[in-house]
């Protein structure tokens, strides 16, 4: 036990004093900051780019007015409005059929900026004459470059609103203002077992963040662990360690060291992100604390911690086993590639799982042993059935124990050999108890 602790302590000091650790500690919050700020710098969240457009409304003008009214409502005639519009040139309004593209080309080209400093026309919106008749509702946006989705969405919203207004007006002619139809409903998920003002979406923030951090921390620290073992093999340090401690003590010590590094990383990132959220806005801090309060319950917090530790141990064991089988970093890289693909798979499923955290996909993936901790952390705040919670918890603990024992075996068998790494079949055999 003492030797395990000493090895864990040495591993911890070895990793946290590396330049790479400090860089990665700083990089992640920086990365989060960039993810949050870049959209704002480049035009802000859901804001369209700058566009000067015109509308050719062949239905008589109601839809053109609807779009122009939507622009006015959004920007109130501000000088720096992102969307501006002008009346369509007469030759476009008159053009039809095969002549129309040529007329648009002309309007978007040399004829678009006749006056110095005047806005350049970059889109022509065409509302066909039968728009809104017999269920037809297809308008067109003509432009020479691919336009941003936010502009498309803005135009579609304005047209849809007018379309609906016209339908409603047939039933209620007294309605005069299309804006009455712009109200949208907000649906908040509530849980009777939680506080009255709790929100399931907000409650899931911390578990989802933990699941993602589990992946990032595992990949980051476990690959350092792998490199460390390969280095120890090449310098024969591993022999010195083996002359002092058993393979089980060494592997356990290394894994405990990695857990300590991961938890340190987690705490530092948590504090840095909280500080960043505080700088960004008090609302964000309040949101984070609301999510923390939801998680910090006697039922959920220990569960999340157990899943987090199991995940770290499973992935750490995998990388440690790979390191003990590799004779060089090149060897390790060749084994690392497929392992990384396996580890990255759950990330591709996050959206699907979060759409329905207690659906078939989420439930099924939660029973894949090496992914159990990851998916159950994602789902933890969504109140999965108790039998799934206890079942997957047992599975995660059993998988962790099996992986740690297997890694000890692989380590003892391979760490001093210079033979080729074993085949996949031999490794799975080892996992099932046969000699790896």
């Amino acid at each position: 036990m003492r030797r395990t602790f000493l090895i864990a302590r040495q591993e911890f000091i070895k990793y946290v004093t590396r330049r790479g650790f400090v860089i990665s500690i700083l990089m992640f919050p920086l990365w989060i900051m960039l993810v949050a700020l870049v959209p704002q710098w480049t035009g802000g969240g859901n804001e369209p780019r700058y566009h000067h457009f015109t509308v050719v409304d062949r239905t008589g003008g109601a839809y053109r007015q609807a779009i122009e009214a939507a622009v006015d409502r959004k920007y109130h005639g501000a000088a720096n409005a992102r969307l501006t519009f002008g009346a369509p040139p007469a030759y476009i309004a008159a053009a039809a059929g095969a002549q129309f593209p040529a007329a648009v080309r002309h309007a978007l080209g040399e004829a678009s900026a006749p006056v110095f400093n005047a806005p350049t026309l970059d889109a022509v919106i065409v509302v066909p004459g039968d728009f809104g008749v017999n269920g037809k509702a297809a308008a067109e946006i003509w432009s020479r470059e691919t336009l941003d989705g936010d502009f498309h969405a803005f135009i579609a919203d304005a047209l849809t609103q007018m379309l609906r207004f016209k339908s409603v007006q047939k039933l209620a002619p007294q309605l005069k203002d299309p804006a009455v139809l712009s109200a949208t409903a907000l649906v908040q998920a509530r849980n009777p077992d939680r506080a009255a003002n709790s929100n399931s979406t907000v409650d899931s923030i911390i578990p989802i963040a933990l699941a993602i951090i589990l992946f990032v921390v595992s990949v980051m620290n476990a690959s350092v662990l792998l490199q460390g073992v390969v280095e120890e093999k090449s310098t024969r340090m591993i022999e010195v360690l083996l002359s002092c401690a058993t393979p089980r003590e060494i592997t356990t010590g290394k894994l405990v060291g990695v857990i300590a590094v991961a938890l340190t990383t987690l705490i530092i990132w948590g504090l840095v992100l909280l500080a960043m959220a505080g700088i960004a806005s008090h609302d964000t801090v309040a949101l984070v604390f609301t999510s923390l309060r939801a998680v910090a319950t006697p039922g959920l917090l220990p569960l999340l911690l157990v899943y987090f530790l199991c995940g770290l141990l499973i992935y750490g064991s995998l990388f440690l086993a790979i390191g003990s089988m590799a004779n060089s970093l090149a060897d390790a890289q060749s084994l690392l590639g497929p392992s990384m693909l396996i580890l990255m798979l759950p990330n591709l499923m996050i959206a699907g799982v979060m759409r329905d955290p207690n659906g078939t996909l989420a439930s099924t993936l939660s029973w894949v042993p090496i992914y159990t901790p990851f998916f159950m952390m994602l789902r933890a705040a969504s109140n999965p059935p108790a039998w799934q919670l206890w079942g997957t918890l047992s599975l995660a603990i059993a998988t962790t124990a099996l992986m740690v024992v297997w890694t000890g075996r692989v380590f003892a068998r391979h760490v001093l050999t210079t033979e080729r790494p074993p085949s996949l079949g031999a490794l799975f055999g080892g996992l099932l108890g046969r000699r790896a």
Binding site: K14, R236, M237, E239, V240, S243, A245, L416, T417
Partner: protein
């Protein structure tokens, strides 16, 4: 009570179809220095690993300090062939780390590490990282980490590797001092001069099998004594002298004729024969064969295993 520190009895180790160590037996008594010699691939490292408990033998038994290895791990010191140190650790911390793994308290290990470094004149480098030390200094740090916990039995795998002649002499003195303190030392080497100067006993391995075990004198006795003569005349007449086993003329550019003597012959008959023929000798010496010759004759390509 037996004074054997290490007892290997019919130990065999196989890796798949390859037998690395084949029925090896030997014993090592307290306070002795045993030279463990053999060509590359002889099974030396595998044997050392088995003695450290890193590898289990497939057959046979090993007892160290009268017990199974797992119980006495902390009483053994080990120096691997290459630098087994963390490059980014400070010299004193690297030595102390091994001490703590061997059961010492950290403060005690650190104090002893600094004292040992001082003994080797490395006190100025105590807080320097291993990556900042020369190869020789790092080798010394490695050696100190093998003995920081005051072990009873020390295994040194190529301890002189990377050291200049001055440091080699210093290390030889250090090893003798350890033996004088009652520690038992086993070291493997390819350099026969070190083994000749240091070892009380020798074990020579080849192909996983023991070819010789005994003292240096017993090893030398495996080959005939050899005389070297130089003269301006042809010395082939010495073939007829009683007690001469073989006469080898001087190689091109070399002055010495080499004469292998039969057992019990001290070479005086050679001097008498030369005097009788009035052949003036410019050089004459008789020396026992060197360990190098014994080693080559035992494990070289034309060797025949000689009885131990």
């Amino acid at each position: 009570m037996t004074d054997s520190i290490v007892e290997l009895s019919n130990v065999t180790k196989r890796f798949g179809d390859f037998t690395a160590v084949d029925g090896l037996s030997f014993a090592l008594t307290r306070g002795n220095i045993l030279g463990f010699l053999g060509p590359n691939g002889a099974g030396k490292t595998t044997t050392l690993r088995m003695m450290l408990g890193i590898l289990p033998p497939d057959q046979g038994s090993i007892r160290v300090l009268g017990q199974s290895i797992a119980r006495v791990r902390a009483r053994i010191g080990y120096l691997p062939e290459e630098r087994g140190l963390y490059k980014r650790m400070r010299a004193d911390a690297a030595i102390a780390y091994i001490g703590t793994l061997k059961g010492m308290r950290r403060s005690e290990a650190l104090a002893r590490a600094r004292k040992l470094l001082e003994g080797f004149g490395l006190e100025k480098f105590a807080r320097v990282r291993i990556e900042g030390l020369s190869k020789g200094m790092a080798q010394k740090v490695q050696i100190l980490s093998a003995v920081v916990h005051d072990p009873e039995f020390v295994i040194l795998d190529e301890p002189f590797s990377g050291l200049d002649p001055v440091n080699q002499t210093e290390l030889e003195a250090f090893i003798r001092r350890l033996a004088a303190e009652g520690k038992t030392i086993l070291f493997s080497t390819h350099t026969m001069q070190h083994a000749e100067r240091l070892c009380d006993r020798l074990v020579i391995l080849a192909g996983g099998r023991k070819l010789f075990e005994g003292t240096l004198d017993q090893a030398r006795a495996l080959l005939p004594r050899r005389a070297r003569l130089a003269a301006d005349a042809d010395l082939s007449f010495l073939r007829t002298v009683p007690g001469v086993a073989r006469v080898m003329p001087a190689a091109t550019g070399q002055p010495f004729w080499t004469i292998d003597l039969e057992e019990g012959n001290d070479g005086r008959a050679l001097l008498a024969a030369a005097f009788e023929r009035s052949v003036p000798l410019t050089h004459f010496d008789v020396a026992p064969p060197g360990l190098h010759d014994v080693f080559v004759s035992l494990v070289g390509p034309t060797s025949e295993a000689l009885p131990a």
